[in-house]
């Protein structure tokens, strides 16, 4: 007898990792019980699930705060990153003079400058968005620049031969060529925006601005409420996965018709 579900590659894509996850959770649960691990060191998956259920509303509200900062930072990073990329490819001199500073943004740890930003910017939401944007910006810039530059030289010659204007070359050639790279940048940046938001919240700390998930984690840590800490972690991870999936879906919807990376 055949189980048709197992012959459906799309179903397998979901079922297989889910089974692995379940198995690992089961091992975790069994080991915790067998070795009598205290809950303040490593809580059982069942404890975490209970906490998620009981503290759900509070945690979800915190998640909402973090998510708002993440999404805002991501959108700002996309807009600024794309603008910067377009400026960079217009002119070599612009790129050579500005690119080192883009790298500077990337290599400066946000943890190190977040306190400054939080001091300088009064509005805590704006300060946090600013920090998260700094983290998410660079992949968008570098990927979009790479994409706008990686145009087939043959096609570029063809456009020149047909007397294409700069604008036509940009709209009909450079932007479509850059899309796969741009979507790659989106995928990296969406995750980084979340990390940036959480890190910034950590630095902002418990000083009244909080209520994001990072704040919940800090609080839970102070109170040795480890199950709650884990529950917050689970929510952050799920959010990251959700963002990634969303970006992957977006890329697939836009370019799967022609680009190898999104076919299957």
């Amino acid at each position: 007898m055949k189980t048709p579900l197992l012959h459906n590659p799309n179903a397998i894509k979901i079922i297989a990792p889910a089974l692995v996850g379940l198995f690992l959770l089961l091992v975790w649960q069994v080991l915790c019980i067998a070795w009598k691990v205290p809950i303040y060191l490593v809580p059982k998956p069942s404890d975490i699930a209970m906490t998620l259920w009981n503290d759900g509303p509070g945690l979800l509200r915190a998640l909402g705060v973090t998510l708002k900062i993440t999404v805002l930072a991501f959108l700002v990073a996309v807009v600024l990153g794309v603008i910067a990329a377009f400026l960079f490819v217009q002119n070599r001199i612009v790129e050579t003079s500005l690119f080192p500073y883009a790298i500077l943004l990337q290599v400066t740890p946000v943890v190190a400058i977040a306190p400054l930003i939080i001091i300088w910017v009064k509005n805590p939401t704006i300060a946090l968005v600013f920090c998260a944007t700094l983290v998410a910006l660079f992949p968008i810039i570098s990927n979009t620049v790479l994409g706008l530059r990686s145009v087939s030289p043959g096609l570029l010659n063809l456009f020149r031969l047909n007397g294409a204007t700069r604008w036509q070359t940009l709209m009909r050639l450079r932007i479509p060529s850059a899309l796969p790279y741009f979507f790659g940048g989106l995928r990296i940046s969406s995750g980084l925006a979340l990390i940036g938001a959480v890190v910034a919240e950590f630095v902002a700390g418990t000083g009244g601005t909080g209520a994001g998930l990072a704040y919940e984690i800090l609080q839970a840590g102070f109170q040795l409420n480890i199950p709650r800490l884990f529950a917050a972690l689970v929510l952050i991870s799920l959010t990251g996965i959700l963002l990634f999936t969303l970006m992957a879906w977006l890329a697939k919807a836009s370019i799967s018709q022609w680009h190898e990376s999104e076919m299957s």
Partner: protein
């Protein structure tokens, strides 16, 4: 540098308008910044409705010469003339080019790819649609307008690329080793179709104002050059220069022509000339000799 009298005379001749000469490369040289001499004193005239092959080993500058005819590269010395003017635009000539790869836009279907030159020129959609369809039918892709490039074989992609070049009804078609990457069967088939297409364009010119088509075809296959062209220009490398300019008068090009004595004779003649020009030994690739 002093010019010989005959050169001065010919320079003068080149400046007077000759309506039949579409392209003229006059003592063209190209030296790259690293010192490589890609072309040395090349003089070549392309007439309306010519089918000229530029034939030679790699490094003989044949692609460079083609790019100069396209206006994509400028000579270091000498000059190129388009209908006696100094730029393709001024001459009013329509020049189309087919590259080594099909260079289709992967995100657009075949019809959109073929329509590109018309779109760039601002032709309204209503006018361009029938022209695109005619160009696709001319290369045997009439039913593939809605397909995407990746769904086509290498040969069909090349056909689409040729359709894109034909859609503007060009006066000059420049082809840079277009079939080099294809297998031999596909290549022979495309050669035959290209020759037929060229013959058809130029046969119509008897009465009315229909346009003639000149083709400049770069290849490193002697057989392909002899099969296709009415004229074969042989080039040699280091420095890139012309060594022979041979007419292939035979009017009929079919599979029998490939097996005929005349075909073999032309090929042998060209091989001998290349051998003589390269100092008695063939230069197969750049790496072999320092």
């Amino acid at each position: 540098m002093l010019m010989k009298y005959s050169e001065i005379e010919e320079d003068f001749a080149s400046l007077t308008t000759d309506a039949n000469t579409v392209l003229f490369a006059n003592r063209v040289e190209k030296t790259y910044p690293n010192g490589t001499r890609a072309l040395d004193e090349v003089r070549l005239r392309i007439q309306r409705s010519d089918f000229v092959s530029l034939l030679g080993p790699s490094g003989c500058g044949k692609s460079t010469l083609l790019k100069m005819f396209a206006g994509l590269e400028a000579p270091s010395h000498g000059h190129v003339r388009w209908l006696g003017t100094d730029s393709p635009r001024k001459s009013g000539l329509k020049i189309a080019m087919v590259f080594q790869e099909a260079t289709l836009m992967p995100w657009a279907n075949v019809a959109t790819n073929v329509r590109l030159p018309l779109d760039l020129a601002g032709t309204p959609k209503a006018d361009s649609a029938p022209r695109v369809q005619r160009a696709l039918e001319a290369v045997g892709l009439g039913k593939f307008g809605a397909s995407y490039p990746r769904e086509l074989s290498g040969g069909m992609q090349m056909r689409a690329s040729i359709a894109r070049a034909l859609v503007t009804e060009p006066d000059v078609l420049l082809m840079d080793e277009p079939f080099g990457a294809l297998d031999e069967f596909t290549r022979n088939r495309l050669d035959a179709d290209l020759r037929a297409l060229w013959a058809q364009r130029n046969a119509r010119s008897d009465g009315s104002d229909t346009k003639q088509l000149a083709i400049v075809f770069v290849t490193h296959s002697i057989y392909e050059a002899v099969y296709l062209s009415s004229r074969v220009v042989m080039m040699a490398a280091r420095p890139g220069r012309m060594v022979a300019d041979l007419r292939i008068p035979d009017p009929v090009r079919d599979d029998d022509f490939r097996l005929s004595m005349a075909f073999t004779e032309h090929c042998r003649d060209l091989s001998a000339r290349l051998l003589a020009a390269s100092g008695g030994e063939f230069e197969h690739d750049e790496g072999a000799r320092r």
